[in-house]
Symmetry: C2
Subunit: 144 residues, 2 copies
């Protein structure tokens, strides 16, 4: 026999389960609304960090976002090919590459971040501003 209504009460006591479900919900909406910019969540994160940290290296991006170096190479290459970022050999450490947003990349990210922030408010519409701040603070207490 099937069950009338699925009892999910146990899983809902787990922070990991709830955080994953919430993240997937928001990311789903993010993908849909960021399609006009042709930016996946990971591309957005990478571009945002370069935008706010001119000269950041690939290694620093990997460490910050938890991306493995081999998996970043293609993304960086694609963003450079699109004219959104520029790569320069690091002035002091010749092994590293410094990354910069181009004027086109900067303009794109100003729009994209504005849209992302608007989307966040939409997706968390059932939360008050205070609850939203609390949620952020508690999540950071978990992973930072």
């Amino acid at each position: 026999m099937s069950v009338d209504k699925v009892d999910t009460r146990y899983l809902e006591t787990l922070v990991g389960y709830n955080a994953r479900r919430a993240a997937l919900r928001i990311i789903e909406a993010f993908i849909a609304r960021m399609a006009v910019f042709d930016l996946r969540p990971v591309d957005f994160s990478v571009m945002s960090l370069i935008h706010h940290n001119p000269g950041i290296t690939s290694r620093q991006l990997c460490a910050t976002l938890g991306i493995l170096p081999p998996n970043l190479v293609g993304m960086i290459g694609a963003l450079e090919k699109r004219g959104l970022i520029q790569r320069e050999r690091h002035r002091i450490d010749g092994r590293a590459m410094s990354l910069y947003a181009t004027p086109e990349g900067t303009a794109l990210m100003q729009q994209a971040e504005h849209e992302a922030s608007a989307l966040e408010v939409d997706q968390t519409g059932r939360l008050t501003a205070a609850e939203r701040r609390t949620l952020m603070r508690l999540l950071q207490k978990v992973y930072l």
Copy 2:
């Protein structure tokens, strides 16, 4: 030039970013501590739902957990092969399969859920019990 310290302040204003980081942190610990039971997060979720919903169908599992049917088949097959669950043809709807935890599966899940709950407390050690309840409630307000 690389940057001294990476500025992540903008990304940290996004619920999606924070929820994903927190979820990944907890899931990482989950994978490590559930290895003794040979249960990945998805296996744990599936087994837990079967455990608490005797007779649940594959379709109901898919709808509840957001898994696509073709991707559930192999998991169910593996769990059955391990003797943790039993599949029976649904008594009324001959197309569906009703799923039940075996005594072995039930015993395993009692241990596994106990361990998962303990792990949750460890991973959210920087939160008070009240904060943990608040976090859960706010996350559910986002995705439910």
